[in-house]
Point group: D2
Chain length 359, copies 4
Amino acid sequence: SFKLAWGCNGDKSAQHKHEIVSFERGNITTAERSSKQILLKWESQPQTVLILTKPNSKSVRSLCVEMVRWLKEEKRIDIFVEPRVKIELLTESSNFSFVHSWENDDEIKLLHTKVDLVVTLGGDGTVLWAASMFKGPVPPFIPFSLGSLGFMTPFQSENYREYLDTILKGPISITLRHRLQCHVIRDSAKDDQDMEEPILVLNEVTIDRGISAYLTYLECYCDNSFVTCVQGDGLIISTTSGSTAYSLAAGGSMVHPQVPGILFTPICPHSLSFRPLILPEYVTLRVQVPFNSRGQAWASFDGKDRMQLAPGDALLCSMAPWPVPTACQVDSTNDFLRSIHEGLHWNLRKTQSFDGPRD
Amino acid sequence: SFKLAWGCNGDKSAQHKHEIVSFERGNITTAERSSKQILLKWESQPQTVLILTKPNSKSVRSLCVEMVRWLKEEKRIDIFVEPRVKIELLTESSNFSFVHSWENDDEIKLLHTKVDLVVTLGGDGTVLWAASMFKGPVPPFIPFSLGSLGFMTPFQSENYREYLDTILKGPISITLRHRLQCHVIRDSAKDDQDMEEPILVLNEVTIDRGISAYLTYLECYCDNSFVTCVQGDGLIISTTSGSTAYSLAAGGSMVHPQVPGILFTPICPHSLSFRPLILPEYVTLRVQVPFNSRGQAWASFDGKDRMQLAPGDALLCSMAPWPVPTACQVDSTNDFLRSIHEGLHWNLRKTQSFDGPRD
Amino acid sequence: SFKLAWGCNGDKSAQHKHEIVSFERGNITTAERSSKQILLKWESQPQTVLILTKPNSKSVRSLCVEMVRWLKEEKRIDIFVEPRVKIELLTESSNFSFVHSWENDDEIKLLHTKVDLVVTLGGDGTVLWAASMFKGPVPPFIPFSLGSLGFMTPFQSENYREYLDTILKGPISITLRHRLQCHVIRDSAKDDQDMEEPILVLNEVTIDRGISAYLTYLECYCDNSFVTCVQGDGLIISTTSGSTAYSLAAGGSMVHPQVPGILFTPICPHSLSFRPLILPEYVTLRVQVPFNSRGQAWASFDGKDRMQLAPGDALLCSMAPWPVPTACQVDSTNDFLRSIHEGLHWNLRKTQSFDGPRD
Amino acid sequence: SFKLAWGCNGDKSAQHKHEIVSFERGNITTAERSSKQILLKWESQPQTVLILTKPNSKSVRSLCVEMVRWLKEEKRIDIFVEPRVKIELLTESSNFSFVHSWENDDEIKLLHTKVDLVVTLGGDGTVLWAASMFKGPVPPFIPFSLGSLGFMTPFQSENYREYLDTILKGPISITLRHRLQCHVIRDSAKDDQDMEEPILVLNEVTIDRGISAYLTYLECYCDNSFVTCVQGDGLIISTTSGSTAYSLAAGGSMVHPQVPGILFTPICPHSLSFRPLILPEYVTLRVQVPFNSRGQAWASFDGKDRMQLAPGDALLCSMAPWPVPTACQVDSTNDFLRSIHEGLHWNLRKTQSFDGPRD
């Protein structure tokens, strides 16, 4: 099975560190697909861990305190946390002055060159938010759940010592979760399309009618071929990781996160024959709000950052070059099956005392 | 709320006894609809009970022995059973010689004039089979379940004494379950349509392609208006009681059994836009196998009695005049809601520790 | 078949005029159900017609002018229109001074005692709006479509003379379209529930999350039995007339408008097992926003009048006593089947040159 | 974009000829995925064409005659046909004695070393059947449709000269359609599993209950992890090419044929929560009929070759190493979108004169 090298020797070797993501995308995804399970092997022992946490939770806060202490004292690991968490730690005890943080957004942009590993404490929402901090290469994520396990959080926090012990040694089974990069184009007829930085989503981007009384009317194109008009409550463009989130609620299929593809799922379409579509990962989708559109349209990204689209605006969407590698508890397939059994009660049936047709 | 009188004074007063079913259909269904819950009140104390049981089950057999003894000794009730069960009881003890049975089909046809109440021991399959014994008026059914409760079996067998005590006193909350009457017309172009006796179904009649490699192609009419052609694996015509059975598996909605209507649900239709349809109870449906049909079609009735339909054959289907009154444990709505919660895990969700979008 | 008498002899005989609607609800709905087609027969020749029109449409406006003239000159019919339309007509010609209108809302409340017939010019949206003007008894509606036919507008405007000729003679085949009456209860824990006037909907009431990032969490009760919690984008409570509108987009079945029932259809539910439900017309539904609800909820009525529901608020919903009788072009079933074929392309398939499995 | 070389220099260079398929599967599929469109370039001019036709069709037969003549006379191409077709051609004219055919199954196994190109005349069924002739490497397919275009037949037969002209020059846009290889394991508990030759399917393998009155009860495993039990009418395991065939009728999503994945779609499952699943192409699925199964199960392969599975039997299923390269008319995405628009009326809506909510 395929092996990805990943290790850290400080800032100078930033390129080496992100070997998997400095490959061309085609190559990475090859690796992912041609083997049953991707393994990540440390080239050198990981030295720095970033811990990102769900706010406003006492249990998360006390777990964080404990884990920071353990990682530092038992494992000699350097720790990064958010500024807010650093203050919380220092409130706890001045002994936590060894913990690193950052002061401004520019430092966030360099985080991936400083940390070898990201630990998240919370649920799937915390993973989504943590991923959004990395606009470029993403270090491996170790997502811990504090309650029941989520779709992206396969590690139970009670056993964090055993899990982290194993992970720091490596190798780690990972799921490479692809992200979509989205560009909002204002007044798409105009010539000057200064591209802003793309918005990256790990689950999905949606375009909906918000509280407008009018249905959306969205013209959709795939690599410049006309796909269809979405007349209804809206449209979800989802990764396969996102197939168990909003797309599922709207009627989409459940897709193993290692299947490369983009889900095109309508929300309450005003048509009997609008079945969800799954497109190859290599396409570029364009969703256009027509110039004569009566209703408004709203885009939102992983359920956040709602932004209004005016008539004439468009959304461009394609697979981002940098996936999010998340550690598996068993392997990609086992973790996925567990999550849909436990999290969604997929095909849970009453054990039947069905007496069948009587003869 | 509406009250139905029902009681028994022997064969002479057969008409009186079946008051609810001797009404015109329109009137009966009125009763059902215009009130929240139909109550059945005994005009005279019930004297005779028919017990129908699932075969080949030790627990059913021993419950039957016990219940017969209790009804006779404690309640002075006359008992009818199937010939097979009578033999089983006599094998148990010659004391059971008081138990009545029948000797031929003609006596079955008169059963509804002899018994005041039908007790079924088994599951939904036993209720379906018991209902099929009554081609005309149907006495009230008290369906006991031996395992987990079913859609039509709301009474737990452990507590049969308490339940029967209450029921024999009355009044009883009942669900009036409508049935469909089906006629198979051979070579429908021919003039002479000697109608055979209709086949009655409590859940559904299906027409499918069996093991044919060709899709069905069924022309459907509603009161002589063309409805559609069903090209696919087949078609289900279901009562609302049957809405939680095969129709549900094929994608139909769940319908409260007191809603008067007929479900028209395709099985794996070869068309994106074939959404299930619900038609009024008063229509007559006609499903025609075209003369030039390449594949075969098979009809089956409540999952049984498969019968081949040749090109040119047709199936006629309308609401039968005699519904099956089944006793409720609480009332129609509570029993229905309990059955879809327990039996189907309807809208069962994991209690979410969902942390939502993180701000 | 059942016959409804309906006629007009001026204000004094208001009661007589609305015979069908002065019955108890149970009786009305009986009539509807026990016969294949309801016929409305004029007791006396209709004398007064209310014409309601879609605004801002030139073609509607010129049709209205023509129809008013024809009804007055050829048929000696008295005409009512909205104040806005009266102004439009007078702008056209001072000859239209014979046209009646009203001056305030109190007069609207008495409209049903003054008019024998309501003609609508527009589409389904115009019918919805026209129906909302009648909070009590509703005179028969003759809905004309100016473009393609809608679900409730079976009359093509080109042939209005022939259609109105026939209708003014009677008898008329009608579809009795039931409405839901909705009450919003503010702070439902409080004791004093001053009921405001109910809001009547012909299609549906929806409760959704609007632009909230949090899923709805709606507790639903049916006649005080707990039904389920709706966690998702929202919930649609729909009449069977509304089954081809928003409920359909959300995955509900198509239901013939003469089937008495209430559709309970979730919008993008956060659960795999949330199949739509159809409940009897006689139930009262209660949808409660929990006191600890994090997100907002918004109610809207036939797609309009959005109103925010705060934690603790509730919506009560039951069948209204006064249905909307709409005239049929052929009959209820034919009109319904035509509308789903033409309007929704229901089960429209490519004629297959399918060569099947090759032997 | 990626280029595949393919050409023919006679039997000796068989290996060279099938360059794309002699690669490791991972590499091939890489090519497919990392580029927007696979192009096939002839290394040497194609010399031999196999024409496979739908039987019992006059129009196919006369097109075949014409095409054979044209290819021979205008293009100097050697022709292979089935023995049956060779007889038909010789009946037409003894001039067709130049046409090649085969005499036994062993020669069929070598066909791929003799022909450079396969032309099919018929519909999708003819392509399925033609593909089943190639158990190993598959030459490029040029599928012509005689009626309306199918999902795999993008070439209209009227213009065959222009199309073949272009194709014989190359390069050709192709869709690499993956196949599933299936093994039926009899009495899977036994030790000796002599693997027979696998059965290859281009669309899907299904396991259903045939005409059994009992639901299937199929235990499913993915790479030895338990997936679920399928209780219902059956199960479809489909390629993405097959996503627009039976899987679609059973409720599966539509998947672009270039998305690598395996569809796991239940047929009428006896569970509300059984949403279809899409798994990575690299997994091995095992479907087991339990030893205590009451009902029968039947497997069928691309809709044919029904074969009974006894309790204890199992079906193994994984991606086959040799895909079927089918020529595109425009490119993979355009051809796919055209086929779902034209063939399935996907999201076809009435152009709305919808007048929206009236203000």
